[in-house]
């Protein structure tokens, strides 16, 4: 016997407990005696903590004062933010000459301008934008921050960077306005859209050359004042070290991970040895080794400054960790992907670059960003070997005469800054992950 329902069963609303606030509270917070007590207790603890922190940090706090004594004269139970506020410039820029701070700000703005297209849906050539930032920005920023005589190499690189920045900005405009890739736009305006590939390439190269020459001549007319790296400090220094670390540890890690899977025994053994050595030593040891042992291997009279040594150490250390992250991502790619790539004639580098890496990196975004966050936090270790990064700056507040002994507030402020930076990075990675996986649900 078959059972046949003649009419369609109408939808009904879900039970009360599934949809109302009261229902939710009842189900999740007060489902049993034990649960209810736990809820109340937790609620009480949260309440006293929050009010305590709020009173200390805002209600009773002093924001403007001459020195620590004045703070306490004002309020004994509140925070003394005046010290932190007084030191804000130091916390952000270290001992960078005050009249030159605009250079750091310009550097930061240029970086944002340069990377902005990455977040604009209509802009074409994102891979080029990303590569441009990693390859050229360091030279522009490097000169901007340290200044002095350019020398021929720096002149060429700075000009190159400026040209790249101009092209990047123009590409952003053509992208936003017409959804067009800059070279396509240029060729269209010149009426050469249908010319043979070779002609098109020559036109573009000629244009690039003209712009480069103009920029090169222009940059000969100015220099910025030299600022020794010993003056660099604060959040600025932290960002320089971790920024370079982040930008180069990923490419380095990819190369090491590929080397580790290479069929060439020499390459593989070298990569494995390198990775394992760096991964089994703490960063602080690597930093000490870099600053004390590295000079021993250098030829007589060859002095690398401490900052460069530290940056090299940070890059190597993080590249090795990144290599393991990337390797895990590579292992998750099924063999069929390699085989399919081979059957359409793609060689090793194209298979890796077009098929394998994009998928592996996409899977690894949370881990990669996790490493970046770790890197950002780990750079505070450089304050131990005597660089005045943000942590170093925060701690020197307590040694400054007017603010002698002011430890708590600067460190809490530092923790807050790091929290904002790291939390937004991790939120952003979550967002990226969701966005990128939208295309391919399996």
């Amino acid at each position: 016997m078959a059972i046949i329902t003649a009419t369609k069963t109408p939808d009904r609303a879900a039970p009360l407990g599934e949809r109302s606030v009261i229902g939710w509270i009842h189900k999740n917070l007060f489902s049993s005696w034990f649960n209810a007590i736990l809820t109340l207790l937790t609620g009480y603890l949260v309440f006293i903590t929050v009010t305590g922190v709020f009173n200390w940090g805002f209600t009773d706090a002093t924001f403007v004062a001459e020195n620590r004594r004045a703070c306490y004269d004002n309020s004994l139970t509140g925070a003394c933010w005046a010290g932190v506020i007084d030191w804000l410039d130091n916390i952000f820029y270290g001992r960078y000459p005050r009249d030159q701070i605009w250079r750091i700000n310009v550097g930061a703005v240029l970086l944002v301008l340069w990377m902005a297209p990455l977040w604009m849906g209509r802009v074409k050539g994102k891979v080029l934008v990303g590569t441009g930032v990693v390859v050229f920005y360091p030279f522009l920023a490097g000169y901007l921050f340290s200044g002095g005589d350019k020398g021929l190499f720096m002149q060429v690189m700075v000009s190159g960077a400026i040209v790249a920045l101009i092209a990047n900005t123009a590409n952003m405009l053509t992208g936003v306005l017409w959804g067009e890739f800059l070279p396509d736009f240029v060729l269209r305006v010149l009426g050469k859209s249908t010319a043979p590939d070779k002609t098109q390439r020559n036109i573009l190269l000629a244009l690039l050359f003209v712009v480069f020459t103009a920029v090169f001549v222009w940059q000969l007319s100015w220099t910025v004042e030299f600022v020794s790296w010993t003056k660099w400090g604060g959040l600025f220094l932290t960002m320089v070290i971790s920024g370079i670390g982040i930008a180069s540890s990923l490419p380095g890690g990819i190369l090491l991970a590929l080397g580790r899977r290479s069929k060439l025994t020499v390459v593989r053994v070298l990569c494995v040895a390198f990775i394992e050595v760096f991964r089994s030593v703490p960063l602080i040891t690597v930093l000490f080794m870099a600053t004390t042992m590295f000079p021993l291997f250098m030829p007589e009279g060859f002095v690398l400054n401490k900052l460069v040594q530290v940056i090299i150490a940070v890059i190597l250390f993080n590249a090795c960790y990144m290599a393991e992250t990337v390797r895990a991502g590579l292992q998750a790619i099924p063999k069929g992907q390699y085989e399919a790539a081979h059957t359409i004639g793609l060689g090793y580098w194209r298979t890796t670059g077009l098929i394998i890496m994009p998928q592996a990196l996409k899977h690894m975004i949370p881990n990669i960003v996790g490493s970046f966050i770790g890197l950002l936090k780990d750079t505070t270790l450089v304050s131990i070997i005597g660089l005045f990064d943000i942590l170093g700056m925060l701690r020197s507040i307590s040694k400054d005469m007017p603010w002698l002994g002011l430890h708590k507030e600067p460190l809490i402020f530092g923790a807050f800054l790091f929290f904002v930076l790291c939390f937004s990075m991790s939120k952003y990675s979550r967002h990226l992950e969701v966005k990128l996986s939208a295309g391919d649900q399996h």
Partner: protein, 258 residues
């Protein structure tokens, strides 16, 4: 452009030029002897169906033909080129020999159109516009042009397999290899894929198909090969093969699957 091509293929189908020649080929996985003294000659335009029990070496055989696997002894000559360690030759072979896998192996991070244009752009050095045009032609041939902008994950198995076939065809190969193209599909999708393959056979493409779809084998095969434990046990025309198998092992196999 496509039509000219098809005629060229038809013309060559009539001639009986040898396109694949395998002579006394042996392959081992470690100490395990997978393929034993394989001899096989395939003419241009010929359709060969390979069947046999699981583990008999069918996949290994066709993977050797497009150099996804290395053989240790004997010769494989594809399109006049002897397979060996020479990487340049391998690249050439891979662009001339298309392959369709059991589980499609589409690139999940690229749209269907990008999947199809990738090979032509990077290895055939086609311009993007031409590659897109070719891709759309083949998508129409496999009857899913409207899916061009979707991602593989958004398509049904049957559609994905048809995309995979189109992806291989975009490379304009001389030979197409199929490794159980319908075994991962639900029954209602098998037919749509087989239909596409029958149409492809009608254009005169040289095809080697590993499959257990015996009805399909009967309609398109010029030769049916039965493999068991690394040997080609029996090879004959489809009527002969199904109606009058010679070897005991073939009879047993056919009685199990028919």
């Amino acid at each position: 452009m496509t039509i000219e091509l098809t005629q060229a293929q038809l013309a060559s189908a009539a001639s009986s030029e040898v396109i694949i020649e395998i002579v006394k080929m042996n392959k081992w996985y470690g100490s395990f002897h997978v393929l034993k003294d394989i001899d096989l000659t395939v003419h241009q335009g010929e359709r060969i169906v390979v069947c046999g029990p699981s583990g008999s070496g069918k996949s290994t055989l066709i993977r050797c033909i497009n150099a996804l696997e290395e053989h240790q002894e004997g010769d494989i000559i594809v399109d006049g080129i002897k397979l060996g360690k020479n990487l340049k030759n391998l690249d050439h072979i891979r662009t001339e020999v298309g392959m369709v896998f059991q589980n499609f192996n589409l690139f999940p991070h690229m749209s269907i159109l990008e999947n199809l244009t990738l090979g032509p752009i990077w290895t055939r050095k086609m311009s993007k516009a031409d590659a897109v045009e070719t891709a759309m032609t083949y998508l129409e041939r496999v009857k899913i042009p409207e899916q061009a902008d979707k991602y593989p994950g958004q398509l049904s198995g049957g559609q994905q397999q048809r995309v995979a076939i189109a992806r291989s065809l975009c490379m304009n190969p001389k030979i197409m290899l199929f490794d159980e193209p319908t075994s991962a599909l639900d029954p209602e999708m098998i037919k749509e894929v087989l239909d596409v393959m029958v149409e492809l056979a009608d254009t005169g493409m040289t095809m080697i198909v590993v499959t257990h779809e015996m009805g399909f084998a009967r309609t398109i095969a010029d030769q049916v090969i039965f493999m068991d434990e690394g040997d080609i046990v029996e090879q004959s025309g489809p009527t002969e093969f199904f109606d009058n198998p010679q070897h005991e092992r073939t009879k047993l196999f056919l009685s199990q699957i028919l």
